[in-house]
């Protein structure tokens, strides 16, 4: 049993060594689009903040490439300087062109002005597919787009089977559904952890200014935001994640046990819902059905029992390690390596051991 698990992880590791960014999740195969009457024409909404592309964009580009055909990136926002920077960065990726839309109401990416803009662009240019990452932003904007286009939306797509057939998780990832859309325009959001990030193509997409006459009215007003500042890797795209759960008992322990272990491993910090609800960690660190879905190379679950909702967020991790004092905890049913031990002894010891190497 031990060797088999070890072997499984090491085979994964070998493959990872060859293609460091390849995802272990169900991967899309390129399919033959010869049977499709016309080539897909995809509009990819490019999420960005402070002049930088959000990480999920790269994975969404890969997903859009599976459709074949050309991909147009849409960069929308308020500040011309920052939009230029975003467009230039996006132009390095395999996109045919980038349309930049600028209007004051497009600041903070609110759905009300953005959705009509996307809809107008789709109708004018005849896009067959509209996609973005299944992030808080994608989930906020895209249903509005789909409703205005009068089409169904396909959320959290894990695999693009063909131009009208997609694979997505339901019931917290406990079932995987393949669905075929009969809509003329396919609106879908991408599960980023299921697609490798796109690589720079070196060709340079053309950048053009779009007409922003179609921007919707701003009927909601942005007031403020408070972001959790962190020097650590981003949870959604980190190669390693260390998460703490209820077993950590309080915030002081979370800060003194979980965070040092994450830092020693160069990992992002995650948390179970119990830990977040009890105030040990910020909401934005929650991993699971209602939080982030992660697919790191190494996931270390400390003091986490492994409820269905939490497992939904880590199913595609390559190597799961669990430290829990309860040998019956469900997390051990999925963990490649489990250590039945008191986390307050084991985690600091592990921190020391990995810090030394």
């Amino acid at each position: 049993m031990a060797t088999r698990a070890g072997l499984r992880c090491s085979q994964t590791a070998l493959r990872l060594a060859r293609t460091p960014l390849q995802s272990h999740a169900i991967r899309s195969r390129a399919f033959s689009s010869s049977k499709a009457a016309e080539a897909a024409k995809t509009l990819l909404y490019i999420e960005h903040k402070e002049g930088k592309l959000n990480p999920g964009v790269y994975n969404a580009i890969t997903a859009a490439q599976k459709l074949g055909g050309e991909i147009t990136g849409l960069v929308a926002g308020a500040e011309a300087d920052s939009l230029d920077a975003v467009a230039q960065a996006a132009a390095k990726y395999p996109l045919s062109k980038i349309v930049v839309m600028s209007a004051d109401t497009l600041s903070h990416s609110l759905a009300e002005p953005l959705a009509p803009l996307i809809v107008a662009l789709v109708q004018k240019e005849g896009y067959t597919h509209v996609t973005t990452a299944h992030t808080a932003q994608g989930k906020n904007i895209f249903p509005r787009v789909a409703a205005l286009l009068d089409v169904a939306q396909i959320s959290d797509v894990m695999q693009v089977e063909s131009e009208d057939t997609f694979v997505r998780p339901i019931y917290a990832g406990n079932a995987i559904a393949t669905v075929k859309s009969s809509d003329k325009i396919k609106v879908f959001t991408i599960r980023t952890s299921s697609f490798d990030p796109a690589k720079e193509s070196g060709e340079g997409a053309s950048i053009e200014k779009g007409e922003s006459g179609q921007v919707g009215k701003a009927i909601a007003e942005w007031v403020s935001e408070s972001l959790t500042k962190s020097e650590r890797p981003d949870l959604g795209s980190a190669a390693r994640v260390v998460s703490g759960g209820r077993g950590v008992k309080n915030k002081e322990n979370f800060d003194s046990v979980i965070i040092p272990l994450a830092d020693a491993l160069g990992a992002a910090v995650g948390a179970s819902r119990a830990a977040v609800d009890s105030g040990y960690a910020d909401n934005s660190l929650q991993v699971g059905q209602t939080g982030k879905v992660v697919a790191p190379e190494l996931y270390v679950a400390v003091g986490i029992s492994g409820a269905i909702q939490h497992l939904a967020g880590i199913r595609d991790a390559k190597c799961i390690t669990a430290i829990n004092k309860d040998p019956e905890a469900p997390i051990f049913e999925v963990a490649d390596f489990g250590l039945v031990a008191d986390l307050f002894n084991a985690a600091p010891e592990l921190t020391k051991a990995v810090g030394k190497k």
Binding site: R4, E112, A147, Q153, T228, A353, V354
Partner: protein, 262 residues
């Protein structure tokens, strides 16, 4: 949209009957869906939070809230979740009844809800951010789009400013929180952090039995609920077997090294 602030606000809360969140689901042998027969169902957890928020708003604002109506779109048994919502404190229910086991897609639900909104003229619709069965996270945004109302998705805090007839909503975004304000009428979807739903007391459950539930069909409302998506197949996810338990941190470290994970 209304020219001036209403003196009393009407709340509408859509709820969905889903397989209970604690049930370990099983894909059926024909691979067409998951087993639902004989499986415990209950109100979608995010919808409970929505009902709770509506009831709390009334507790806070007292007479400013004219009514709390709950609505569900679903098969005959969906009445159960309306009763639960009524026992939590909603006033009346609306059941848009569809065929047993018929899958109603988010777009169809949003259109049905739009028809209800057109009829009922609520000022605020509070929905769950996603149903834990299809995990689509679409209905709130679609309804807002169809109505051209402002939306605040994934709310973790909601306040009503009566003077300005505005709601202030903190919403959970990737990386933190964002605060929006919007005039009513508006759409809000709830995140887990918004509140802790109450349990219905036995007397309230008894009282809920007497509360009124109006029944419609999608056809009564003039809504076409024909699905746009065909489910080709449903399969269980690739099984993931638990591996070895090790008995010391050293053993764990050497296993992880051997596996190339560290």
């Amino acid at each position: 949209m209304r020219p001036s602030a209403p003196s009393f606000i009407k709340l509408l809360v859509p709820v969905k009957r889903t397989i209970d969140y604690a049930v370990k689901i099983r894909v059926n042998s024909a691979q067409t869906g998951v087993e639902t027969d004989g499986v415990k169902h209950s109100m979608n957890p995010f919808d409970e939070i929505a009902v709770e928020e509506a009831v709390r708003l009334r507790e806070k604002l007292k007479a400013d809230i004219e009514s709390i109506r709950v609505v569900t779109v679903g098969g005959p048994k969906a009445t159960d979740v309306l009763r639960t919502a009524l026992a939590m404190g909603a006033d009346t229910g609306i059941h848009v009844e569809t065929a047993d086991k018929e899958i109603i897609e988010p777009l169809s639900v949003a259109k049905t809800l739009k028809a209800i909104v057109d009829k009922e003229k609520p000022d605020l619709v509070i929905l769950g951010k996603q149903a834990i069965d299809d995990d689509s996270s679409q209905v709130g945004g679609m309804l807002a789009g169809l109505l051209n109302w402002p939306q605040a998705n994934f709310a973790s805090k909601l306040d009503y400013d009566k003077g300005a007839n505005e709601i202030h909503v903190s919403r959970e975004i990737d990386g933190g929180l964002e605060t929006l304000k919007m005039k009513l009428p508006a759409i809000v979807t709830t995140d887990l952090r918004l509140n802790e739903p109450r349990y219905a007391s036995l007397p309230n459950i008894m009282k809920a039995k007497k509360k009124k539930i109006d029944k419609f069909t999608p056809a009564d409302l003039g809504v076409d609920i024909a699905p746009r998506l065909e489910t080709i197949k449903v399969v269980p996810p690739p099984a993931r077997k638990g591996g070895a338990k090790v008995d010391s941190v050293e053993a764990l470290v050497s296993k992880l090294k051997e596996a190339g994970a560290i």
